[in-house]
Every structure is written in C-alpha cells, then in structure tokens.
Symmetry: C3
Subunit: 169 residues, 3 copies
C-alpha cells in the first residue's frame, strides 16, 4: 500500500528522528532530500552533523528549491523530505511570488502522484504572537496553507510533542 506521511511539530520535538525511524522500517535504501540552503556556518554544521547521524542507508541529495523535480527523479521506494519549512523559506527569499506558487503546486501534484513512500517533515510556526514583520506573517500563513495541502494528500499525519508522535490522521 502507498504510504504518504506528514510529520509536523515544534522545534526539537523529535520530528526528524521519527521520520528516520519510519524510513528505516519502510525500505532498504532511502532517498533523503535535504532542503536546507547552507547560507552560514550554523546551518552548514547542522547539515553535516545530520548527514553523519543518518548513516549509509540514506542517499542524501540537497535541493533547496526544485523539490518536485528532486522527487520525480527518485527511483527509490522511500523518499524522506526534510524539511518543508526551510524549502518554503528558500522560495520566499529567492523567487518571485508566481514562481514560488508554481513550485508549491508542482510539489503537491508530484507528491500526490508519487508511487511509493513519502515521509515529509514540516514545522508548526504559527502558534506564537503574530510577528510585527510582514514577511514573517506571510511566511507563517503560507506554511500553514502548505501544511494543510500536504496533509490533505497524506494518509498519515503525526504531530510530534516532546518526542512523542500523536497521530492526527
């Protein structure tokens, strides 16, 4: 059976670890699509640390923008996407609005049609005081809408809290 999984939650709630555990149960080789753009030393250090922690069952590709394309090229049965949050942040900073919307639409369509397992990691970023910064507000709203769209094409959705998965769907 096709399994499409969304894992969401706050910062350091155990989302990535849970995604990797699921991936290890699902398949032999997993394509890990990392969306972080290594713009500074803090992020680069995180990327390298996480790659090391994942080990050799995972083939890592870095794709900060063209997520639909990266997914289309996956001939593997299991794809982990980590994470939607950084991908959307890259789209916001690097593309005009219409191209951003196109990338999002393409990804949702590609994920919907994908034959195999997809485990997508996202974040909850809209549960705090509304930010004064307009771009932060737009980003928060857009991520909320993207999470809703991904959830709607998934058959499993988990909210992680303190390392514990709460199944929502």
């Amino acid at each position: 059976m096709e399994r499409k999984i969304l894992i969401t939650g706050g910062v350091k709630s155990g989302k990535s670890r849970f995604a990797l555990e699921m991936a290890r149960k699902l398949g032999e080789k997993t394509l890990f699509i990392a969306t972080a753009r290594p713009i500074d030393a803090e992020i680069r250090e995180k990327i390298e640390r996480h790659k090391k922690e994942r080990g050799k069952e995972f083939i890592t590709i870095e794709e900060p923008i063209k997520l639909a394309e990266a997914l289309k090229e996956a001939t593997h049965l299991t794809a982990v996407i980590d994470c939607i949050t950084l991908w959307l942040s890259n789209l916001f900073f690097e593309l005009p609005d219409d191209q951003r919307e196109k990338e999002i639409k393409d990804f949702i369509e590609t994920a919907r049609e994908f034959k195999g397992y997809i485990i997508t990691v996202s974040n909850e970023v809209g549960w705090g005081i509304i930010p004064e910064n307009r771009l932060s507000r737009l980003y928060q709203e857009e991520l909320g809408m993207v999470n809703q769209k991904i959830a709607s094409i998934c058959n499993e959705v988990y909210l992680l809290v303190s390392g514990i998965p709460l199944r929502l769907k």
Copy 2:
C-alpha cells in the same frame, strides 16, 4: 441538544473553514459575528475576501468590541464568532483594563446562557518564545485564560493542526 463549540489552533490551520463546515451542518441561516477592526488595507482585504467566500447562508455583522451584545441580539439558532483573538486584541488597544475585563465576563456569561449553537474560533498564540514586549506577554496570558474560560463552558473543543481537527473535549 445545545452545542457550544470552541475551535482553536495556529495560524492558517483550517479553523475558520472547519467552523463554517460545522455551521452549514447545524442550521439554515447562521449569524456570523466578525470581530476584526478594519484598521488597514491588509485586514480590510481579508474581511471582504472571507465574506465573499462564506456566501449567502451567512448573515455577517461586524462587532469588534461588544461581543456579548452582538450575541444577545442573535435570534438565529447558530452563531459563529470569528475570532476571539482579534476581539481581545481590540479590547487591549481600545479599552481600559476594567472595561476589558467586564466585556470578557459579559461574553462568557452570555455564551453560557445562550440557547442555540455557538461556534467560537480562537487562536493559540502562547507556544513560542516569550515576547520581550510587555503588552504582548499580557495579551498572550489573557488570551490563554479567555480560551480556558470558553473551553470550560463548551461541550466540544477542537484543536486544528494542518487542517485536521483533533477533538479535545
């Protein structure tokens, strides 16, 4: 049976859509109490877009402050209040503390006594880093307390995450 419903969650988690779906199932004509104060173009645009999306089954009234009064005048069986977050924000900016407390108390009492369906939409705003701004902290605390009070007089409470309702009560 009386149904009093609280729908809460983060930004763009599907709260309003879920509230409207519930309202459509519950009754023929629904009074929609919109609490947004149209202080700038961004908000005015949102209000108009949402009104259009709701369609003709909903009679919309705008009441940014006197929520208890608006609810008392409802002769309709179903009232949707969207949302507590903006209403409380209006109270904070426009009324002195004692009048704000009185408006909150009046609303809770009126909602408790209301014969019919009430669907109230609120927000979670206290799950981020504590804001440096004192007013933001007070607002966050007050909204948390108001949400608790509303939840205590409701027989159904839902937390929306990525468009999925999680029933808490």
Copy 3:
C-alpha cells in the same frame, strides 16, 4: 506504582493548575520546587500569588539552578517541579555551557532514579516563527531536547490546550 508525569503546553493553558490537582490526588504533603528567579517585580508578584493560591498542603522551596539537589533532598512522596522553562532560562543566563549541560544531566538522572511521584511542568516554546536572536534559538532547541529527555523517563505525558489535558503517553 511509581508515577512520573510531564505536563507541557503553551502560556496560560492550565498546566500548573492541572499539576496541583494531580498532586492533591496523589499525596498528603507535597514538595513544591519553584524554579523562578525573582529578578523583577513582575516575577516576584507571580511567585507570591502562586504560593498563596497553592495553600498549606504544599511545602514550597525555591531553587532556580540546582534542581537535582533539590529533588534529592525530597523525603516527601510527591514532588512538583514548576517549571523546567524558567530553570533552563536561569541555567542559560547564569552558567557556562558545560555546567548547564551537567545540571541537566544530573536532573534527568535524579528524576529517573527518584522513588515516588514527580510532576514536572514545562512549556512549549518552539511553535512560533524562529527568533532572530541566536540565544533565543539555542534556548528553544535546548528546551525541546530537555522536554524530550524528561518525556522519555516519564510514564505519563500531558499536553494542555485551553485548560484541557490531552494525554500523549
């Protein structure tokens, strides 16, 4: 049976009240470990108000840093720790990194070995827009990791939303 309980949630979600209700059910006398450092009038006022609200079944000690030591000295059967959030904030502002890590490790070990009831209150602070301030980001991540560690040694974990406990474990 040993009961180790973690209660987490947003600001003013009913965490402390739920912790006290649980404590009252569990034992006669309870040691209440308050971690707030009374650095200003706003916090001092909160501490005093909460102490008064708890009443005489609770023996309050204030320990902003050495939480493991405070817990070790508890000869009482029930200990309430309120809260991890402020304790970790104190560690961040007052200790160098290695001593902070040691305090955290000591607390987790002591809590794991503790014979009796422990009710620990923490907060969710990582569900908003990622803060620009680096220290806030580090704090957010560390609190997430500490919450995960505490949850892993607990047999009951509750998420409070609008005053309603949602059992996660």
